[in-house]
Each structure stands twice: as C-alpha cells, then as structure tokens.
C-alpha cells in the first residue's frame, strides 16, 4: 500500500548520515546533549504515536512507562547488580504488563475519557513511587559509578556512546512503527481509532489490538526510561514521573504529526531544542518560555495543518484528490 518512494529512501539515507556524523563534527557537549534528548523524546513520541496517532488512544500517562523503565533497571542494577541491558528488557516487559493491566479495564474508554484515565494512571504511579521505601521513595535512586563501558551501559568520558545508543533505539522504534503502520495491525488500529463499532463489524478484536498498541508503546517508552537513568545516573519521581513530561510527549507528536511514522521525530526536532536552549539561555527566569513557544506553534499548526508539520510535506501531492 504505502510503499516507500525513492525520494523518501534518499531523504532517509541523507538524514541518517547527517545524524551519524553530527557528534563527530562538534565537540560542544551541550549540542550533543540536546540531540540526545531530541532522539529520546523522538523515540517516546514514536511510541506514543502507536497508541495515540494510530489507535486513537490519547495517552497522557506515558511518563509512568518511562519511570517504570528507569526504576526497574536502576533497582535491578543497585540491588542485584543486574546489567542495565537486561534491566532494559525487564523494564520494558514490566511496563508492558502494567500497560495491559490498566489498558484492559479501560477497553471501552475512548477520546477524552481515555485521556483522563491516562492522566490518573500516571499520577497514581507517581504517588506510589513517591512513597515506596523499597525504591527510595521521594529521595530517588542514585546509580553506582561503575567502570565505563558498553557492558555497564555507562560512559563518563564522552557522550558519544550515549548518542549512538539512543540513535539506535530511535531507529528501532521507527522500524517497529513502520512495520506496524504498513501491516494488518496498523490498519486495524486505524479502524479502531475511527470507531469501535466499525472495527467490530470488520471482525476486529478491539480489546486485543488496543492492548497490542499499549504494550508496544509501553515497552518502547520504558526503554527510553532505562536509557535516561543510565544517562543522568540519578532518578527520582520528580524527574522521571512528572505529568509535564507526558504532556511534552503528546505535544511533540501532535506538532510533528500524529498518525505518521516520522511525525513525532519532526516534532521532537523542533520542540526539544527550543525547550533546552531557552532553559539554558534564560535560566530560571525563562521557565515557561518554551511552553509559550510550544503553545504558539501548536495553535498555528492545528489551525493550518491538523496533520502536523509532517503533514505539510506529505499532503502537498495528495491535495488534488
């Protein structure tokens, strides 16, 4: 159906080379940091998109999966000295199971109601973690300083390994999203987004396919969580479980274009540098400036191109129909 065109493939290769050599051209670690965050939020946007963009489940609780991923791998590392690479998988699985456990009873919730439930879910998880002594409660977890290296998922002398690991994660997420969007699952999710009735009448098991979307999304988001924990080496509920992170994930995807594979990456490429740069340049006085700019951009894009920035590119050829 939607086959990749030659133009898209060339664009992809150029973009790939550009991001591949970018950190080698600059020694500015702040620039590298911004791009790493862009990859990370891009990945979470891609994961959100599988739920929100394709299946129409507007989740404002993604941060719970992010936090679960971060906490699971960190807890396993600190308590049982399990390598974060295994923690990454375990964290993903735990997040997917939690996602299924909350997604199943919410099977009939759509639109705003699902969004509200997802906010509640995120807040409930945060409150629990804030009071859960075993995992450090509000004090959070400090990861032990281990020897630098791939095995320990820790690099002290350079950000480059983090950069390439996150880039790989992002590409994996895009690959999964692309596979979903062009396969039976993707079409089924889009039918479910339109209406549960139309999906059922086409023989689609609505509950099963929604759970597939939630669990995939949760797994990928948790992977980003583990990465973040390894990257900053300190996590607490305030840094990995706050509602604004969920909102940022949604905004990124909506701005870039929900329901398209590349949309969230484009959104992250625009919004993350804005928020990081304003935060650093304006310091404490600048708190909220990025939100002002976000708000302005989102208003613009939703008025002129509801399909997001990515829709600006892809829709030009289709208008005639």
């Amino acid at each position: 159906m939607r086959k990749l065109t030659l133009k898209q493939i060339c664009g992809g290769i150029i973009a790939f080379i550009a991001v591949g050599i970018f950190p080698l051209l600059t020694t500015n670690t702040f620039a590298q940091h911004v791009v790493i965050l862009f990859f990370m939020f891009g990945m979470m946007g891609v994961a959100w998109n599988i739920m929100g963009g394709y299946a129409g489940m507007f989740s404002f609780g993604q941060v719970a999966f992010f936090g679960i991923g971060a906490y699971t791998s960190s807890f396993l590392l600190i308590t049982y000295h399990v390598t974060p690479w295994i923690g990454l998988i375990v964290g993903g699985l735990v997040a997917a199971l939690v996602g299924a456990a909350i997604g199943y009873p919410c099977s009939n919730l759509r639109g705003h109601y699902f969004a509200i439930a997802s906010i509640a879910f995120g807040e409930i998880v945060r409150t629990h973690f804030n009071n859960w002594k075993l995992i450090g409660a509000a004090e959070g977890l400090s990861l032990p300083m281990l020897n630098e290296g791939f095995k320990n998922f820790m690099f002290h002398s350079s950000k480059l390994p983090y950069y390439y690991i996150m880039l790989t994660f992002l590409i994996i997420s895009l690959g999964i999203c692309y596979l979903i969007s062009t396969s039976k699952i993707g079409y089924y999710l889009r039918a479910i987004k339109e209406s549960h009735d139309v999906a059922k009448v086409l023989g689609i098991n609505v509950v099963r396919y929604r759970l597939i979307a939630i669990m995939t999304s949760a797994f990928l988001t948790a992977m980003a969580g583990t990465f973040y924990a390894q990257y900053v080496l300190y996590i607490d509920p305030e840094s990995v479980m706050l509602l604004p992170i969920s909102i940022q994930i949604v905004l990124i995807s909506m701005l870039g274009g929900a329901g398209s594979v590349m949309g969230p990456v484009v959104g992250a490429a625009i919004l993350i540098p804005i928020s990081e740069v304003t935060r650093v340049w304006l310091g404490h006085k600048g708190t909220g400036v990025d939100m002002l700019i976000y708000g302005f951009l989102i208003t613009l894009i939703s008025v002129y191109q509801p399909k997001g920035v990515w829709g600006l590119f892809t829709n030009m050829g289709k208008r005639a129909k």
Partner: protein, 245 residues
C-alpha cells in the same frame, strides 16, 4: 433430515428499562434467501440487528447461525463466523481511501496486506466502486458511502449479510443500482437480511418479509401477501385507514 437454517432467532427479547424494543421475536432464514424486515420507525428493527450481531446482549432468547448459538458472543467473533452487517448511519473509516477501507475488512481472512488488497480490488470491482478506489472515504457521495460500507462487509467474506437501510435516501438511479447489487450478492450464494423502508425495493428483492411493530412480530410471509394484510396497513397508516377501506 431437516436442513439447518442459516439464521434462526428464538424469542429474542430486549428491553431498555420498561420499553420492550424486541418482544419475543421468532423467525428463521434459509440459506440463499433474501428476507426483509420492515416496520414503522421505532419498531425494533435495528435493535434486532444489534442483538443478532452481538452489539447488544439480548435479555432473553437465542440466535443460531447454521445451528451454532451466537447469542452473547462478541461482535467480532460473530463476524468471523460469517455474519456481516452494515449500519443505519453509515460507518466507514473516514481517513482511509476506499481501497484501504475495504482492504481492512478483507484482512479478517488474510494475515498480510498483499492478498487483502487483491481481494479488496475484486470486491470493489464487483460493487462498482473500482474507479473510486483512491478516493478518501469522506469524499464520497452518500450513495457511494453506502456501497462502500456494503463492500467492506463483503470483504469479510460473510455467509450472511445484514443490511440496515442501505437504500434509504438514494435517488431513483442509485436505488436501482443498489437493488441490482443486492441481487448480485445473492447470486454469489450469500444469504441476506435487509431492513428497509423503501417498499419498492422490498417488493422486488424479498423472498419473505417479516413485519415488526412496537417490538413485536406482527406478520411474516411473501411480500405481496404482507402488504395486503390489514395489521400491516394499520401499523403503517393507522386504524382509520383500514376501516375506510
């Protein structure tokens, strides 16, 4: 041995509070038949459809599809067993093209997109929508949307197709096209149950007609008999009309 009917409905009852939308409805449909269900607005036709296809759980009564009970099964399971339906208010996927809409239906029988596309193209050609396959669902006229919805249902490869007012609101030419399509669907060996208000169509396509009024079945028989039945005329036109005749 008696042939197992395609669909057998035994005493289906559905009430919403004190309102009995379906009150002990019985009827059966043989394989290959076209049976119309008629009745004034609010007679319980759509509710009956919803009870049979798993959208509402009936309060009592059972429905059997080729001898297998389908009451209280999930709607998607019933569809998988071979019962497809359309809705009174057209249900299509607005942001998909016509082909993608039908292909999504075809995916019920195929694991991969490739063969499903082939099946969808075949169905669209059959339904006369082949030339519009790249249109967005929302860009179609109401007649084409109804055709598309029927095509989506056909793509799930049903044995029984239930059409809920697929002919309402069409022009004469479009109506002829829909009647023709319905007949061609039957020729493919698919059994049809049709809820319809357009009597011209009902008279032409039906083998039998079931008449509902206020949730009860008041009559069943060949179309010509049914329209002469005083109870039916009364249901549609009122008591004084019957007396004056």
């Amino acid at each position: 041995m008696k042939k197992v009917p395609c669909l057998e409905v035994n005493g289906i009852t559905k009430h919403f509070g004190g309102l009995y939308a379906n009150d002990h409805i019985d009827f059966s449909v043989e394989e290959g038949e076209i049976v119309s269900i008629i009745g004034p607005n609010g007679a319980g036709k759509s509710t009956l459809f919803n009870c049979i296809t798993g959208f509402y759980p009936p309060n009592s009564g059972k429905a059997f599809f080729f001898g297998e009970e389908i009451t209280h099964r999930r709607a998607d399971t019933i569809c998988k067993m071979g019962v497809a339906r359309t809705f009174q208010v057209v249900q299509i996927i607005g942001d998909m093209t016509v082909l993608e809409n039908v292909m999504t239906g075809a995916l019920l029988r195929y694991a991969n997109v490739g063969p499903a596309v082939k099946k969808a193209e075949e169905v669209l050609a059959f339904a006369g929508l082949g030339e519009k396959k790249d249109f967005l669902g929302t860009a179609l006229t109401i007649a084409d949307k109804k055709r598309l919805e029927v095509s989506m249902a056909l793509a799930t490869q049903p044995k029984l197709l239930m059409l809920d007012e697929s002919m309402a609101g069409l022009t004469m030419v479009e109506l002829r096209g829909m009647i023709d399509l319905t007949k061609r669907i039957r020729e493919k060996g698919i059994t049809l149950i049709v809820v319809e208000h357009v009597m011209e169509a009902v008279m032409e396509i039906s083998d039998r007609v079931v008449v509902l009024n206020s949730g009860k079945k008041i009559m069943e028989g060949p179309p010509k008999e049914v329209v002469r039945h005083p109870g039916v005329i009364q249901a549609y036109l009122g008591e004084r009309y019957v007396v004056s005749q």
